[in-house]
Each structure stands twice: as C-alpha cells, then as structure tokens.
C-alpha cells in the first residue's frame, strides 16, 4: 500500500463524506490554495451552539479532499466555540499520514475554511 495514498485516503477522495451545499446555512467560507489551485468552501448549520450540519464543496487534490471529508466527520456535533482552538496538528493527526511541506497547505485547507466560517480568522492554521 502507498504510504501517502492509503486506501482510506483514496476512499475519502473518491467518495467524500458531507460534500455539497447546504441551504439555508448559518456560517460559510470559501478559500483556495494558491499553490495548486485547490478550492474549498464550507456551509455550516448551527443548532444550540453546535455544528448540526456541515457540507464542504470545491475541487482539489486527493489530500485536500480527503482531509475535508475526514474532518467533516469530526466537526459535525462539535461546539462552534471549539473550532477556533483546533490547530494544524489536529488535521494532520486525523489524516494519519506524514505530510511533506509541499503538501501541508493541501491538508490544512479544510480547517482553514472551517475556522474562517466559525471565527472569521482566515489565516493558515499553525
């Protein structure tokens, strides 16, 4: 098995979970990775301070798409307050593969847009 393109990464890439749009939604953000043109947006519906529903949309490489798909499963149900505290390690650990510096932004894009939607902070997670 490939060390980067593991079966579950490819599975999430080919059949991304929680992908699409959400109307109506309470929070949204959209961003891209200038390096390779990956694009990702997020729609979030909030209920009782928690993420009730979440959909990512966009297009990109296997790492950025799998990262969004895998993160989406963790994000649903999470208190919105907590999103701002998630850092880069959170996503990288979720992905479970070692990420080279050139692919780091691909992996972090999903957290970047989610944090942007929840807190307005559109900086790259560290």
């Amino acid at each position: 098995m490939d060390e980067l393109y593991r079966d579950y990464i490819l599975d999430h890439y080919k059949q991304p979970r929680n992908f699409g749009t959400l109307e109506p939604h309470d929070l949204e953000a959209h961003d891209h990775n200038p390096l390779c043109g990956d694009e990702l947006g997020v729609h979030i519906r909030v209920d009782d301070g928690k993420i009730a529903e979440l959909r990512f949309h966009g297009q990109g490489c296997a790492i950025s798409q799998a990262s969004a798909s895998i993160a989406s499963e963790e994000l649903i149900g999470m208190p919105v307050e907590q999103i701002g505290k998630l850092d880069a390690d959170w996503v990288v650990d979720l992905l479970g593969i070692s990420i080279s510096p050139t692919r780091r932004k691909c992996a972090l894009l999903s957290l970047k847009v989610t944090r942007g939607a929840a807190t307005g902070d559109a900086s790259w997670p560290e």
Binding site: Y5, L10, C36, G37, Q59, C61, A62, I63, T102
Partner: protein, 406 residues
C-alpha cells in the same frame, strides 16, 4: 518506436543531471550548462567591477564583458545593442512597456487587447494600466484546438479603439505557436503598438525580432539556459527614444541637476541602477551555447520530443492533452490531465519516480477557466531531454493510475 528524429546529446554539459532526474519542467526554468556556470564564475573570480564608470582596466574589462554579451544577445535575436534592454525578467520587460509607453499613450475609452492564453505577466500589467487610465482590457478567444483567430483580431481592431496589442509567441500551457508577425502587422495597420511575450519562444526556436516586426519583444534569460535575474526587451528605436524612462536612478542619466535631469542614451536610459552584470555575462554564454547547437536543431529536437510525448501519452487511458494536436504548430510543452487524479497528485507520484513535472495553473488562471479545469499537469522540454525521459514519464503516469486504483 519511431526512429529518433534528432540525435542531439548534450546532457553531459548539464551538471544537475548527475542527480538522475528526468527534468520535464523547462517551461518554468531551464537547467544551465557548465559553460554558463563557468562564465559567471569566471566573471566573479577574475573580472568583477562595476560597469560603465570605471577608469581602471578591471572596470573596462567588466564593461566589455557585459556590453559584449548584450551585442551577442542582440545579434542572436535579430536586433541591435542599442535597442536591446536588459531587465530582470520578461515580467519586468512587459511592465516597462506598460509604464513607460502605456501611461503616456493609453487613456480613457482606449482599449488594450491581449488573449485568453496569456501568462499572468502579460495580463496584470495591462489590468493595472487600464484601471489607472480608464481604459478597457479585452481578450481574444482561444479555440478548442488552442488557436487564436486572426478574423477576430481584425474585427476588434476595426472598431478603432485598440491602442496596444500584446500576445504570447508560444503559450506556456498549450504550446501553441501564434502567428505573431501577422498579428504585429495587423496591429500596426490599425495604428496600435504591438508587444510580443517571447518567453517560451526565444529559448527554443530561431526568432528574428526584426522579422517578427513587433514594436516590443520581451523574453527571459532563465528559460533560455541562462541565469535568473536577467531578461530582455527589444524595442523599436523611435518608440524607445520618444518614451520616458521606466525607473529613475544612476546609470540611466546623462546629467542630474537639482530639479531635473537629462537621460542617458539607449539602451541605458532604461537600465537604472547597477545592472545584473554577472547574469548578463551568463546570458551571453547561454546564447553562445544555443547558437553553437543551432536553433534549427533545438527546434527540431523539441518538435520530436513533443511529437513523441503526444504519442506516448495518447496510450494512457483517461489522459487528455491540451493544445494543438499537430506538433508543427506547437513548442516543447504538453499540458494534460488524467481522469480521476488531480494534477497535484500526479506531480507528487511522478516525483517519486524522479520525474519532475509541473502541476497547477501555470500562471494562466484565465486560460484554466476557459479550458474548464482548475489545474493541469505539464511536461516541457529542452535540449538536454531525450525520449527516455518521456518513457519515464509515461511509466510514472501508469504507476500513478495503479496507486489510484484506476
């Protein structure tokens, strides 16, 4: 396998290939032959001094090396030294025209005409100019085969508002070789100034800028086996003489008073500050090297590799190439996509096999939008590449499909 069309074998001149890469990203930047590296090394070791102003022998030697390089670069391109301006790169050359010519001559209601296949370097300077001057930026369309239409050009020019036309000679994404002399002639007939972005053309085919006949022709040294930090703008003498300077400072003046200055003669009027001297010397060595091979041979070699690449990539399921299908109509660059694998992942998987290709928008986002793709993968060639590099690419792509379960 088809027989080798050319037997060019110069890889031993390029030290970087000791590392064994199949380097297929020369459209981004070329590798450098030992002759270029040594010319720059020798300049710094033996002849370094600031140019133009020194009285002593060493300064004269540096000046001769730098200006000698300019003369040879001018001859190589079919121009002359006085109208061959050294810039930092093609981007700066195009900006020079946008600022020094554009700001004086483009005004409210005027149009600047470019094409959908331009590099950002030949888009953004015109966007800035147009928004500053209240002018409109228009784009010629690119057909599905990756070609421009001279009929469309005629129609737009006939409307009478175009002040400047700027077109890429060879597209860095599609490879298309555009009919630049026809475009320049039509622009002139319509009273518009023409600019050609020759960044991908000058490095790989015989270009005579006098024959092209455009008012300005820009290119960049680092794609032509030369160093980074040096580019070239060839301009029509009357225009260059009538233009105001681009940047102000030392070297570009004849004399400086408290309130105003008079400007130096061509080409130095457009070269403010200390030049990239070693880089100029390096570029001189690069065009000597290319001239030694012969640009007809360089072009034949690129054409052969392009042809072979289109053939080999055509064998891969789900692979689509962009640009003209006829290798006679394109330079040494092939953009492609593989269904089900993002270009970024393709480039990563190729890298594992020692194959260097580029993935992304190639600084041509409007073209990507037109092609309906977020990004493409791209293989591009120069004199040091051979068919084995292309075979390695084809194998790496097949392997990538396996990894992705395709």
């Amino acid at each position: 396998m088809a027989p080798l069309a050319t037997s060019l074998d110069v890889r031993a001149d390029f030290p970087v290939f000791d590392r064994g890469f199949a380097y297929l990203d020369s459209a981004a930047t070329s590798q450098k032959p030992r002759q270029v590296i040594e010319a720059m090394d020798s300049y710094y070791r033996c002849s370094n001094a600031n140019v133009h102003r020194g009285v002593y022998k060493l300064a004269q030697e540096a000046t001769d090396l730098f200006e000698g390089a300019r003369e040879r670069v001018a001859r190589f391109a079919g121009s002359e030294a006085a109208t061959t301006i050294f810039t930092r790169n093609a981007t700066e050359a195009i900006n020079l025209v946008a600022y020094a010519w554009g700001r004086e001559h483009v005004g409210e209601g005027d149009e600047v005409l470019i094409t959908q296949m331009e590099h950002h370097s030949n888009i953004v300077p015109w966007q800035i100019l147009c928004s500053e001057r209240g002018a409109t930026l228009r784009y010629l369309h690119v057909s599905d085969e990756g070609l421009l239409s001279l009929d469309e050009l005629d129609q737009v020019l006939a409307e009478g508002r175009v002040k400047l036309v700027s077109v890429v000679h060879v597209s860095n994404v599609l490879g298309t070789i555009n009919p630049v002399s026809e475009i320049a002639a039509r622009a002139r007939a319509a009273g518009a100034v023409s600019v050609i972005d020759g960044s991908q053309a000058m490095p790989q085919m015989a270009v005579d800028v006098a024959e092209v006949g455009a008012d300005f022709y820009a290119w960049t040294g680092h794609k032509a086996l030369g160093p980074t930090g040096i580019g070239v703008l060839h301009g029509r003498r009357e225009l260059l003489e009538s233009m105001r300077p681009f940047l102000g400072g030392g070297d570009m003046i004849a004399s400086v008073g408290f309130d105003s200055s008079t400007y130096n003669e061509l080409p130095w009027k457009f070269e403010a500050g200390t030049s990239a001297i070693a880089e100029g010397v390096g570029l001189g060595a690069a065009i000597d090297y290319l001239g030694g091979i012969g640009m007809e041979t360089v072009r034949a070699h690129e054409r052969d590799l392009t042809h072979y690449t289109l053939e080999r990539l055509g064998e891969i399921d789900g692979l689509r190439t962009f640009g003209p299908g006829d290798p006679d109509m394109r330079g040494g660059v092939v953009s492609f996509e593989v269904e089900g694998i993002h270009p970024h992942d393709l480039a990563e998987l190729c890298d594992r096999e020692g194959v260097c290709i580029r993935a992304g928008h190639h600084c041509a986002q409007p073209l990507m939008r037109e092609l309906g793709v977020p990004a493409t993968a791209r293989a591009s060639f120069h004199v040091y590449n051979n068919r084995e590099d292309v075979d390695r690419l084809a194998e790496a792509l097949q392997k990538a499909r396996k990894v992705f379960g395709l």
